[in-house]
């Protein structure tokens, strides 16, 4: 991020353009349908939030660098080259009003993967020095401290001690040869310590070996969110090295959508090689255990509940049935929101938007979409599987004066596990 300059940004944009992007820009018919897919438009009705508009800088570079028409237009002075101010002006669209939720990519009739392009466009923004300050400092903390929120291992260690003392469960650290290496998001360490406790309970119940790694416990990847492959690669490599060193079978992504995308899909490509271990989201792990009969639950929640699908899980990860199968084992009154599953609406603060101060008001405004979705089905509790969605939901409900408990699915499952008599004795 040092030495950012316009020309570096321009080169970065140029380097991002591949055959899919050329096909996408060639195909856009300016039908405007992507606008209605994006909650930043639907809740504000402001045309400037139309997804394809967010891609104007990248489109310009594509046209002028990679098409005959673009070259001719430039030659005859019919087009203006991209300039630095334009990139600066686009920060509002490329970052503040895009969570990379991927909804537009499923709606565009010609098949344009818009969020794929916006993700790539961010690479140019970082290189040009136009990423938002909040995200830049989070990324810097991630590199130097090891976590975007500045959480260091001793903080986690304190939490582990606490859990072990309170519950009697063991939270293994740096165990070579464990089946699962578990990772966390800082949000979970800071705000939802219940998550780690739930994991301890679940793995014990299922009789599986697991471990944390003291040098690589943070799974969120600010490099992916901000759009810097260099940072993303550095952060991913920490996890990869740890998983290889501890010789684990599976690296488990936490309840965080972007962490999953970072390690599951972008990780291997950033490293330039296939992983020797498997990567699964915690929900995929839980569903597998359930199917193997290793999760025995008892008791049913009676409250009317719904599940908020984190974008990166449904639209960029195909994790759709898993949370439903799991939730149904512990909830009696499970109802779906309209557009649930693949087309669920974003919470409004993914993709790093939550870390951008200037976006705070907008993010609260577009939360109206979630409120409308929830009001229509009159639920008492929302369950989700992403710490970032969770904090956004909580803040949103507060802003809209809604009493609505938000639960993490993993913890909910853990609460309903049948306690094995033998282990029960050991605890008491």
């Amino acid at each position: 991020m040092s030495n950012a300059s316009f020309s570096r940004g321009y080169q970065a944009l140029k380097a991002q353009i591949d055959a899919p992007i050329a096909a996408y820009f060639s195909s856009c018919v300016h039908c405007g349908l992507c606008a209605e897919a994006c909650l930043f438009f639907t809740e504000t009705r402001d045309p400037k939030y139309t997804p394809i508009h967010k891609l104007e800088p990248l489109r310009k570079v594509w046209e002028q660098e990679y098409t005959l028409v673009g070259k001719l237009k430039a030659w005859f002075g019919l087009s203006t080259p991209l300039h630095d101010q334009e990139l600066a002006d686009w920060q509002e669209f490329i970052y503040n009003s895009c969570t990379l939720c991927g909804r537009c990519s499923l709606v565009c009739p010609v098949g344009n993967d818009l969020s794929y392009m916006i993700r790539k466009e961010r690479e140019g923004m970082v290189a040009a020095g136009h990423a938002p300050d909040g995200q830049i400092s989070a990324a810097k903390r991630a590199i130097t401290v090891g976590s975007p929120m500045g959480v260091k291992f001793p903080a986690l260690q304190a939490q582990i001690k606490h859990i072990e003392k309170d519950t009697g469960f063991i939270v293994p650290v740096n165990q070579v040869g464990a089946e699962y290496m578990v990772t966390l998001s800082s949000m979970e360490i800071m705000n939802y310590p219940e998550y780690l406790e739930a994991l301890a309970r679940i793995f014990k119940h299922a009789g599986k070996t697991w471990t944390l790694c003291s040098e690589a416990f943070e799974a969120t990847n600010t490099g992916i969110q901000i759009g810097s492959s260099d940072i993303a690669r550095e952060l991913v490599s920490r996890l990869v090295n740890a998983a290889e060193r501890l010789q684990v079978k599976t690296l488990v992504s936490p309840e965080c959508g972007h962490a999953y995308t970072a390690i599951r899909w972008e990780g291997a490509n950033l490293m330039g090689k296939a992983f020797t271990f498997k990567v699964q989201h915690i929900l995929e792990v839980l569903e597998e255990l359930r199917q193997q009969g290793k999760l025995k639950t008892e008791g049913l929640e009676t409250a009317r509940m719904t599940f908020h699908d984190p974008c990166q899980l449904v639209r960029r990860g195909g994790v759709i049935d898993e949370p439903r199968n799991l939730l149904k084992t512990v909830a009696q009154n499970f109802v779906e929101m309209e557009d649930a599953g693949k087309m669920n609406w974003c919470c409004g603060a993914g993709g790093g938007v939550g870390a951008i101060e200037q976006a705070h008001e907008l993010k609260t405004r577009v939360f109206q979409r979630k409120i409308s979705q929830l009001d229509a089905i009159k639920v008492e509790t929302v369950v989700t599987a992403c710490a970032n969605c969770r904090i956004t939901l909580e803040e949103g409900f507060e802003a809209y004066n809604r009493e609505m408990p938000v639960l993490g699915l993993t913890e909910l499952i853990a609460q309903h596990l049948v306690e094995e008599p033998a282990t029960e004795n050991a605890h008491e």
Binding site: S27, C31, Y66, G318
Partner: protein, 219 residues
Amino acid sequence: MNEVAFLAWVRGIGFQIALGIFIVGMVVRWLEIFLLGKKHDYSAPKGSAVQGAIHTIFSRSIPEKSTWQRSRVQIVTGYVFHVGLLLIILFLTPHITLFREFLGFGWAGLPNSVVDLIAVITMFALLVALVRRLQDPVLRFISTFQDYLVWTVTFLPLLTGYMAYHHLGFSYPTILGLHILSVEILLVLFPFTKLMHAITLFIARGFNGATAGHKGVQA
């Protein structure tokens, strides 16, 4: 140039020039896209990229539910003029005669009166699309000169064809010549404007579907 010479020109040299530019343009555009390449994906697949691509190439023709609910007019208008254009191009008897000349085979056409009606409906749908482009805040905001240019060159063949069929406005050779000329303009602009989407949308859907399929998502 008198009208007979004009008609002869658009049927002869004019057509050859247009077709030539069209073919060269298509090759250039194709290369422009595919020479850029795509990086190998090292992440372990969760589903099939090929199946995802094939699925999306077809499935994206049907709007997904929430889009349909939010953008009905836009979607219906789009369907009507696309289907209309296709039917007119492929099933008007004089067009089929032309195809037979070029391809060596033809097929049964629709009755002229039916195609005539389709032409009216199609022109109407295009007019609705234009009005929406001018009035809808999003469409007006994202529209560029090219959008209006492409609209015009799509509308003109319909209009001139309709006028030729009904002997309106000009002498028959003149209006027929204008009709052919308008199609030639369309051909020339096709590779270099968004008209190209008629071809590239399959590539776009394919790439998008492949990415989704690889991740186990049905796009």
